[in-house]
Symmetry: C3
Subunit: 203 residues, 3 copies
């Protein structure tokens, strides 16, 4: 098996560190055509997705969830690896989808589902019975109370908090440090304490 | 010794996971008469407090502090177990009362007292010289600076922060994400950044 | 080598705990002339900086960054020890300056520089490519997103968050729970969500 990291920025270096510390050997990095290639961490950065390699395996280390979704569709038949930091503390019935990234110390207590290609940054805490959709991004130090549902592709900024039982709709954006105490509609952007919808064109 | 967990909800499952991962064998769950019984994690959920068991030992895994206080009074002569997650980092002179629950990675640096049946959720950090009363509830990712005093039964929501030396009065409620920078009176509810008293009937 | 902790308050006790748990033997505490001496943790508290000891080694366990800077200048030719808690998770290319203190579970993912005599409290998360200057103080549960720059001596209160790429100027002060989403000027004080400049004489 050859492990390739899609991406070559800061997140890719973080994922590389997680895989290496878990004892995995990374073969190289991949970027889309047009992006800069070269050498990163002593490994090649290629501008194609290495489909010619024997038994390639991927993780999409790109911060933008929509780009992760697009690449996952493009590589639909690929094998995926997860990048699970050894300091993550996962309780019983915590299920990780394909290509999930958990980049440092985190907690998920029990009965939690984390969808494919979700990104969980260091310092996150996830309480019982949370459901996190595919392509979701949790910034550093995000905390979810019990029974929270984060739908596909939603992105929570650094330090955001979600109160018990709240639902964050698909592809919603929660600002840095926002505290969500009621449901957030799909596609909405919310900021502040408590989090309120943010319409840049009106404020 | 037979360990019984009082409660059968999400918190009870979290406490169960902590005890199991610490190598303790749980005998069953108990709920008050009228609540649903059955099987949870393969173990019986009883609607009485198993006083007939040989050498029973309890932990009250119920989120509401007043209910914990009532049950603790009801079971006044019971033996209690603590549920201390192995990823909790406790320094010197950190004292835990009867039935304390610490559900995940947490830090208490030095000279900290945590009262009986207090609930400390994952991601909390407690600095030097803090005193936490009985039946206090700290939500996930709550942080207390040095010399903070949390009196009996106070409840701090997810991600709340308390500045150095502040005192939170008995049975006060601190909202999710609130940042406490001055003392909070007993029984008060505070929210926001900085935290201010919240009177729902006026706003 | 004799290790001396400069300071004898709560932070000094926290640093003592970190050093002891790391297997280091502390010889004593030092305070400036005029401060209370005596015994702390069974060790002498001296009112001079033990320059007569064989091969002395210091760490400045004082919360105020300006005082740390003054003492570091005064002891300019001293040897320094770091106090790095064993629960800190440091990735590749995370560099620690002289006398850095990391007091509990923390994360620094990759390509991070932490300047001399910086103080990192428990629960902090530091993402890729951050630069933290000398004498900086990060309160408990502070989180820095990728590419953040914290200049010399800046102080971030408990639970402060900094969005990607922001720069916090030298000796700036960020309030408890503040969320920084744009650059902060040197010497400024910012508070709130989002963080705004705080002029006590006008508000």
């Amino acid at each position: 098996m050859s492990i390739f990291i899609c991406g070559a920025g800061g997140l890719a270096r973080e994922v590389f560190a997680v895989l290496e510390s878990a004892g995995d050997t990374v073969t190289g990095f991949c970027v889309e055509p047009g992006y800069t290639t070269g050498i990163l961490r002593g490994l090649p950065v290629r501008d194609h997705f290495a489909r010619d390699e024997p038994d390639p395996c991927f993780v999409i280390a790109i911060g933008d969830g929509r780009t992760r979704a697009r690449l996952a569709a493009q590589l639909a038949d690929a094998r995926w690896t997860t990048a699970l930091h050894q300091a993550a503390v996962l309780g019983p019935n915590v299920l990780l989808g394909d290509g999930v990234m958990v980049l440092g110390p985190c907690s998920a207590t029990t009965d939690v589902a984390i969808g494919s290609h979700a990104l969980i940054n260091p310092g996150c805490t996830i309480a019982h019975d949370c459901t996190i959709g595919a392509f979701v991004s949790l910034g550093p130090a995000v905390s979810l109370a019990g029974g929270v549902i984060i739908e596909e592709g939603a992105s929570l900024g650094i330090g955001a908090k979600v109160a018990p039982g709240c639902r964050i709709g698909a592809w919603a954006v929660v600002g840095a440090g926002a505290v969500v105490i009621r449901d957030v509609a799909a596609g909405d952007t919310v900021v502040g304490v408590p989090a309120r919808s943010h319409r840049p064109d009106r404020s």
